[in-house]
């Protein structure tokens, strides 16, 4: 094993600084006692966090994003689990094509999805509705739910299922008592990643959200375009804190690097 030399460690320190700096400044600025963006040099204050509570537009955007994330990640997981089992456990004609197709939304820029849904939903009279947002989000996050479930199902030893069958278990019992518990960590982490992706999605939602269905990222984006005040920083600080909690959960569950590489290590 080769160790890092001083040059490598100096580079590493600068790189970590580069990664952390913008997140850190958001958190620092949100504690300012002043009425504008400034470093809290004389004392810290929670006034901008309190200001969020008095801002109904941000509060309702939060609830919409939360509901949207929960509903769409639930639906996408329901669709992804059977599809992942099909691709992982069966050899059949068109398998590669189907699995490529299922992951295809990853190749489509969100801006293209946004304008396509805007056009499509307008012609159906669905534009700006919560249902429209759910449909759009399910499409965007399904590949994330699928990839992690797929990794778990591929990594599972099929002999376990055969053993259960030979012991007289029915198909349903095998699925419920053997397969499902074994791939559950994959399903849960896929669902969590899908939820986070939905909760953070901006580029597509900006086209299909109406004033009454504005999601939190869209609300923040519109606010930042208008003016940057310490309250947006306070909202961002809360988001960073929430993400860190979910991230630690995911790290425990699957290991963060596997989450992004999308392959089970065995």
């Amino acid at each position: 094993m080769i160790r890092n030399g001083p040059v490598a460690l100096a580079f590493h320190a600068l790189f970590i600084g580069f990664i952390v700096a913008p997140l850190l400044i958001v958190c620092v600025v949100s504690f300012t006692p002043l009425g504008y963006i400034s470093l809290p040099t004389d004392g810290i204050s929670l006034r901008w966090f309190a200001a969020i509570l008095d801002n109904p537009r941000f509060i309702s955007a939060f609830w919409i994003s939360l509901a949207l994330g929960l509903v769409s990640s639930f639906i996408s997981t329901l669709l992804a689990v059977p599809a992942a089992l099909a691709v992982a456990r069966f050899r059949f004609r068109g398998r590669d094509a189907i699995s490529a197709l299922l992951l295809s939304p990853l190749m489509i820029p969100h801006i293209v999805l946004g304008v396509s849904f805007l056009r499509f939903f307008s012609s159906l009279g669905l534009n700006g509705s919560f249902a429209g947002l759910v449909i759009g989000h399910v499409i965007v996050i399904l590949p994330f739910a699928l990839r992690l479930t797929l990794a778990a199902a591929t990594g599972m030893d099929p002999a376990v299922e055969r053993a259960a069958v030979s012991l007289g278990a029915s198909r349903l019992t095998v699925f419920r008592r053997v397969t499902l518990p074994l791939i559950l960590p994959g399903i849960v982490s896929g669902w969590l990643l899908a939820f986070i992706t939905s909760f953070d999605e901006l580029t597509m939602s900006v086209f299909i959200a109406s004033p009454s269905t504005t999601t939190l990222p869209v609300r923040m984006f519109l606010q930042i375009q208008d003016t940057i005040d310490p309250m947006v920083a306070a909202v961002s600080t809360l988001l960073i804190a929430g993400t860190v909690v979910l991230m630690l959960a995911l790290d425990r569950l699957v290991g963060l690097e596997r989450l992004f590489v999308g392959k089970a290590r065995r």
């Binding site: 997140l23 600025v29 299922l102 396509s116």
Partner: protein
């Protein structure tokens, strides 16, 4: 378990049906209106025309947007490839305790909204001016640099947003490298720089390339960062399409921009993945034989 023939099709059917109705149909509908004529007072007209594409291809205004988008994406890709590769190598050589901590710090931002990360850069560049204060304090710069509303600012912020993709993909390919290779190089008298240049980087090349392809595709279609840091004047394809759809309301023209972006994106991703796979499959097959 005895596999039934229809089972895999039935299992994947719900997801595929949802895609057919809610993914294929919207994209076809946007492709269709990109071939229709737009009247400022009459909206979208029926019929078939190539005028939107003709305008996008011939108008120097759009050439500038395409050029800027491509240039920003190219520079961001090179920066991410270089910085991400070195960081992945450094991480790979760390103690497992430090490695998992720093991996969390480097990859974690991928889960934080792009709006939040870009806001951070807007604060560093603009309102607090911390970046310029730091640059002036080093004594290397005589006057402040314009980061907000400049290509440079967009490049820096996008590099921050996208560099984790290179780190993760290089890190994954380093995992498969036999540590004995590096030890052999040391035993044969290679210096640290030589080992990185002649051994580690070539072995990590599949990861460097596939990470770079992802970064290029995402940088070329980025929306939030160019919109916030670049502002209204520095348009890229994504922000130009946004304006056509939500401000000018010329949907056919915006649709043609979206189609161009989609086709370019899919072409880049598919061909480069093919090339990388073909090239490195040959390498692996050779070394196995």
């Amino acid at each position: 378990m005895k596999p039934q023939r229809a089972a895999p099709y039935l299992l994947s059917l719900p997801a595929l049906a949802v895609y057919a109705v809610f993914l294929a149909a919207p994209i076809v509908s946007i492709a269709l209106i990109s071939f229709q004529h737009f009247e400022f007072y009459g909206g979208i007209q029926p019929g078939f025309t190539l005028e939107n594409y003709a305008q996008v291809v011939s108008d120097s205004y759009y050439w500038e947007i395409f050029g800027r988008t491509f240039a920003i994406a190219a520079v961001v890709t090179v920066l991410c490839a270089v910085l991400g590769t070195f960081e992945a190598i450094v991480l790979h050589r760390m103690d497992s305790r430090w490695k998992s901590l720093f991996l969390l710090i480097v990859l974690g931002p991928l889960l934080i909204s792009v709006v939040v990360r870009t806001l951070g850069w807007a604060l560093l560049f603009g309102s607090t001016g911390l970046v310029n204060r730091a640059l002036l304090a080093t004594g290397l710069f005589a006057e402040p640099i314009q980061f907000m509303y400049s290509n440079l600012g967009v490049v820096v912020a996008l590099t921050h947003v996208l560099v984790p993709f290179v780190v993760i993909s290089v890190w994954a390919s380093l995992q498969r490298v036999d540590p004995a290779v590096e030890r052999a190089a040391v035993a044969l008298g290679a210096g640290p720089a030589t080992i990185v240049r002649r051994i580690v980087v070539p072995l990590a090349m599949p990861g460097i390339l596939s990470g770079s392809v992802i970064v290029f595709a995402l940088a070329a279609s980025a929306f939030a960062t160019p919109a916030i840091i670049g502002g209204r004047r520095l348009k890229v394809i994504a922000t130009a399409a946004y304006d056509e759809f939500l401000n000018t309301l010329n949907w056919p023209l915006g649709a043609s921009l979206a189609v161009v972006l989609l086709v370019a994106n899919v072409l880049v991703l598919v061909t480069s993945n093919r090339l990388i796979e073909r090239r490195y499959r040959a390498v692996f097959a050779e070394s196995a034989a």
